[in-house]
């Protein structure tokens, strides 16, 4: 087998294994609750019969490993089971139908943020690395250090205060529904997307800068400079082919970072995404929804990191020419 293919396959199977362990961790978090979930919700005054009934209703009366395989089997087919809310009533809420439209909204927001953030941070990072220790570099560096250290909701409220309240360029609340037209959706999601952009540009720009500086210190770059190659060609022909791997890592790492940032930003702007759904479900302790959201977030995170690794392997020039 080709060495690249073999390494990629190895990495993919390792990723699947991690995903499997994470799904067990997420599922079993409920099992470790001292006293059990049903007893905890019903309180100390509940009779054993009430607890047993409640457990039966939630399906918690069967052994854990049976429920795990049912759950993970359903997840593989896109079915996350029934939500705890409205279980006893006539209307059953399927977790999948609750999550699907919100997942689309979150995906929409994250994509918008990525479209803004990736080119911007690459340009900032590369230029800061090229003009290292200049005034420009110092300003960009300390600004990004400050943005990294600031909570997302501070940036979000600051932007809302100025651009939605003082100047009224945007709406302060990004309420959208399935009936919202595309252009309107983009417009309403702009302010949250800018917030997310500011948060991840800082990380991405600093990592790009570090990667490029590291690269420019290599002997073959010095060699190219010494033999009189044009500065532009040094970057494009010598530095860039080797930079794809670190840049891909940086991008994927920060898109994974979006997963966390999106929760807070959605709550600030009341944007109906999966992050807000998770927070609401945590308050009502609706476990099927919480576990489904956690699994989706964790899976996105793992897959993005996996993707970065695969890109790094595939673009590594050393692996392309095996000895």
């Amino acid at each position: 087998m080709h060495p690249i293919l073999r390494t990629v396959m190895q990495r993919l199977s390792l990723g699947l294994l991690t995903l499997f362990i994470v799904s067990i961790l997420i599922f079993s978090s409920l099992e470790f609750l001292p006293g059990g979930y049903a007893e905890n919700i019903l309180g100390q005054g509940a009779t054993p019969e009430t607890v047993a009934n409640f457990k039966k209703e939630l399906g918690l009366d069967r052994p854990a490993y049976v429920r795990y395989f049912e759950w993970i089997g359903g997840v593989a087919q896109g079915d996350f089971g029934a939500s705890y809310s409205g279980l006893s009533g006539t209307i059953k809420r399927e977790v999948t139908t609750v999550i699907a439209p919100r997942l689309y909204n979150t995906f929409f927001l994250a994509t918008m943020a990525a479209i803004f953030a990736v080119p911007l941070s690459l340009i900032l990072g590369v230029t800061a690395a090229l003009y290292r220790n200049s005034l420009y570099d110092r300003i960009v560096n300390s600004t990004t250090l400050a943005t990294i250290a600031t909570p997302e909701f501070f940036i979000a409220y600051l932007l809302m205060f100025f651009f939605a309240i003082k100047y009224r360029w945007f709406f302060s609340l990004s309420t959208v529904s399935e009936a919202t037209p595309f252009i309107e959706h983009v417009y309403r999601a702009t302010l949250p997307a800018i917030t997310l952009t500011l948060v991840i540009v800082a990380h991405m720009m600093r990592m790009t800068r570090a990667a490029i500086i590291n690269l420019l210190a290599s002997p073959y770059i010095e060699m190219a400079q010494l033999k009189g190659v044009q500065p532009r060609d040094v970057i494009v022909r010598h530095a860039l082919p080797n930079a794809w791997a670190p840049i891909a890592t940086v991008i994927a790492f920060n898109l994974a970072y979006l997963v966390v940032g999106v929760v807070v930003v959605e709550v600030v702007f009341v944007y109906p995404g999966i992050g807000q759904l998770m927070v609401d479900s945590v308050s009502t302790r609706d476990m099927p929804v919480v576990q489904a959201c956690a699994l989706i977030f964790a899976a996105t995170y793992i897959l993005l990191n996996l993707l970065a690794d695969v890109v790094a392997i595939v673009t590594n020039p050393r692996l392309l020419h095996p000895k």
Partner: protein, 295 residues
């Protein structure tokens, strides 16, 4: 002649007291580090002497709801008429205290396990490292949200959950740095001398892994502090009536739509502290590791 010289050098070095050395180091600190240290000092004073500084009590209803800032209430009052300035000062005590406690537990657990696994190796090391790898692949905020849903929201649950989640990061660093020290000759020498486990850990290994761990402590504190603030802001962290910056932002967030910047004060208080700690850590990192951008 060399012995005479080195004796002189030692004498010169000994003439400076610890305080003088500390002052010399501080004098060379850049402006950003000075700014950071002064801000941290102010926050620490506010947290320690909160009852003396704050004009009103933490949960006292002292006026009407949503009063604008005046001579009586410097930053106005909140939704049930508590003085926002007083709550900001008490918030320093609660928020920083809880974050500090969480980070300390996280370092105690993660650091101990990390050093022990580096010393022992074997199946215990393998098992612990694999579990930690799996936990690391779930974002902390998401894992914390899920665990809070399972165990219910309370301050003690919040501290324990975040400390355990965060200790995985500390474990990784402590184990990696300790692994480099464990193979050194002086550890081997101590073992051959017949020193006990406690001596080897605390006299041989810990002093040598301390600088990276101290830097990490600053960064982990910032991270824990931001995560606790985010969870409180989302309404699942520190619960009212405890004054806390994250939940204060949520409590007053409706004000911002009327052009009132009140929610920005507690959010800004959080931002200022984390920026300050980051500046100091940045400087410490440069000092201890000799890390420079130049190649």
């Amino acid at each position: 002649m060399t012995s005479a010289n080195s004796a002189d050098i030692r004498a010169i070095k000994a003439r400076r007291s610890f305080a003088e050395n500390a002052w010399r180091t501080l004098k060379s600190a850049p402006v950003s580090a000075w700014f950071g240290m002064i801000v941290i000092l102010i926050y620490a004073l506010a947290a320690i002497f909160a009852p003396l500084i704050a004009p009103y009590g933490e949960a006292d209803v002292v006026g009407g709801a949503y009063q604008p800032s005046s001579a009586e209430f410097w930053l106005g009052t909140d939704q049930i008429g508590r003085d926002i300035f007083s709550r900001l000062i008490y918030g320093a005590r609660n928020t920083i205290g809880i974050a500090l406690l969480t980070t300390l537990i996280s370092f105690a657990v993660g650091g101990t396990l990390g050093v022990l696994t580096a010393l022992k190796r074997g199946w215990f090391d393998q098992g612990a490292s694999r579990i930690v790898d799996a936990i690391l692949s779930i974002p902390v905020l998401i894992a914390a949200l899920m665990l809070l849903a399972v165990y219910g929201k309370s301050i003690s649950n919040l501290i324990l959950i975040l400390a355990l989640l965060d200790s995985t990061r500390v474990f990784r660093l402590a184990r990696a740095t300790a692994l480099n020290v464990v193979v050194m000759d002086f550890v081997e020498a101590a073992r051959l001398r017949g020193e006990g486990m406690g001596w080897i850990v605390f006299r041989e290994i810990v002093p040598n892994i301390l600088p990276p761990l101290i830097t990490e402590f600053g960064l982990r504190f910032c991270f824990v502090f931001l995560t606790i603030s985010a969870l409180s802001f989302l309404g699942v962290g520190i619960q009212p009536p405890t004054a806390d910056w994250g939940s204060m932002v949520t409590e007053n967030k409706s004000l911002i739509t009327y052009g009132n910047p009140t929610p920005l004060y507690p959010a800004g208080a959080i931002a200022l502290l984390t920026v300050a700690v980051n500046f100091v850590v940045d400087w410490f990192l440069h000092k201890t590791s000799g890390l420079r951008d130049e190649h």
